[in-house]
Symmetry: C2
Subunit: 247 residues, 2 copies
């Protein structure tokens, strides 16, 4: 016999029609991908850089930059533009000089070529057989589109904070994405490896699935599994999520 709590969760998820995915860290391994790209560039240009530290510094600049946009200190800028702003700042800090504009732009587009976690494509294909699967990322549309093409991510639809001119965790992103898919918030399930993203989605009425990505910040980073965050589902990867959703 199903427990009352489990029964309630099952009934709640019965209404779900679409899955909205956070992308950086949840679908793709941004850190490993950036390290790989950095090493190739470094070898070609004879650069002595700790690319893991470089990747961490680049990512660390992302949230403060986005917050400046959210507070209105910066005009609307998409993630490509924010990534470039941060890159121009950290290149000299890591002693990288003499790259051409083309080379810097190419490095900035490493974010368009991030690689999925090993379960990513297989899990998404299973989930797609039962649900509409869409991105809901702060990454811009062209970044997400090129990433999907590069990594064979089988999205039904590419949605981005860029469409709403506000960044997650602003409510407009979650409500905007649900509305564009013709759904009530409770018919959409937000999938992410980050508690703050899910908490903000839940506050707008969306269902939530937490996916564990313990290596997002590298093998040696401390990783604390979230305490009970009140998520509808918790999964080890996308295949595990598909199993739980009967897909």
């Amino acid at each position: 016999m199903l427990s009352h709590a489990l029964l309630s969760a099952t009934l709640a998820l019965n209404a779900v029609r679409a899955l909205l995915f956070d992308v950086f860290g949840t679908v793709v391994d941004w850190r490993g991908s950036l390290v790989r790209e950095g090493r190739v560039l470094g070898a070609r240009k004879g650069l002595q850089v700790d690319w893991a530290e470089f990747a961490d510094a680049w990512r660390a600049g992302y949230r403060p930059a986005m917050e400046r946009v959210r507070r209105g200190e910066l005009p609307w800028m998409n993630i490509d533009q924010l990534h470039r702003l941060i890159l121009d700042d950290i290149l000299p800090r890591f002693g990288v000089h003499g790259l051409s504009e083309t080379e810097i732009d190419e490095l900035n587009r490493a974010w368009h070529r991030l690689r999925p976690w090993p379960d990513g494509v297989r899990g998404l294909k299973r989930l797609k057989s039962k649900f509409v699967i869409s991105t809901l990322s702060n990454g811009n549309i062209s970044l997400l589109t090129e990433m999907a093409k590069h990594a064979s991510l089988p999205w039904d639809c590419i949605l981005s904070a860029e469409l709403f001119h506000c960044y997650k965790p602003d409510p407009g992103t979650y409500l905007g994405a649900s509305a564009l898919l013709g759904l009530q918030p409770e018919q959409a399930l937000m999938v992410a490896a980050h508690e703050d993203d899910l908490a903000a989605a839940r506050a707008q009425g969306l269902r939530t699935a937490f996916v564990r990505r313990p290596r997002e910040f590298g093998r040696r980073s401390g990783y604390n599994l979230p305490r009970d965050g009140g998520f509808d589902l918790v999964a080890d990867d996308f295949v595990h999520l598909a199993v739980q959703l009967g897909a």
Copy 2:
């Protein structure tokens, strides 16, 4: 030796990175699909309706309704809402009474289930191997997403006039779509079976490909191939377009 005109066209198209597709009539056979859906409904409900005339009347209401939105006489409404407005008007005109709200809504969603022309999926797959392929339709995002899922249309990205709150042929749709893909207008090729759509795209600097769909309005409709409309390409179908683009 290439003629000067052909060489210019080839050079112009060398810059193209993405193909933007009109959908109703260009990718899918809206008329044949609606007739099929209507007949199934008619048989089930015992309705005596000429479904080809019904489909034509439904489609005929579309442009005037959209023009009312464009002129500001109606607030922003997406195509699902406009289709429903027209449907509520034509059902009694065709003597259809007694459908439940669920049945009317289901009929309205026939537009989400339109079927592609026979060359559609095969041609798109070839074009996708070389270019980003995206919709640029007046149809809303959820309509286009469900249609793609239903008909296995392999879009890289789903873009819609709905994102810009203006309808083609407003310039904001063509420029907005190019910008979201990170492209200059001349790096985008608009593909459509309708001259007015292409003329408006060209006026904003996009490249243009006219695809012949002589049966869009039925086998017995008169179909006039456009005179030289100054399109960059003219194709018999999507496979022919792929051949011309080397995809």
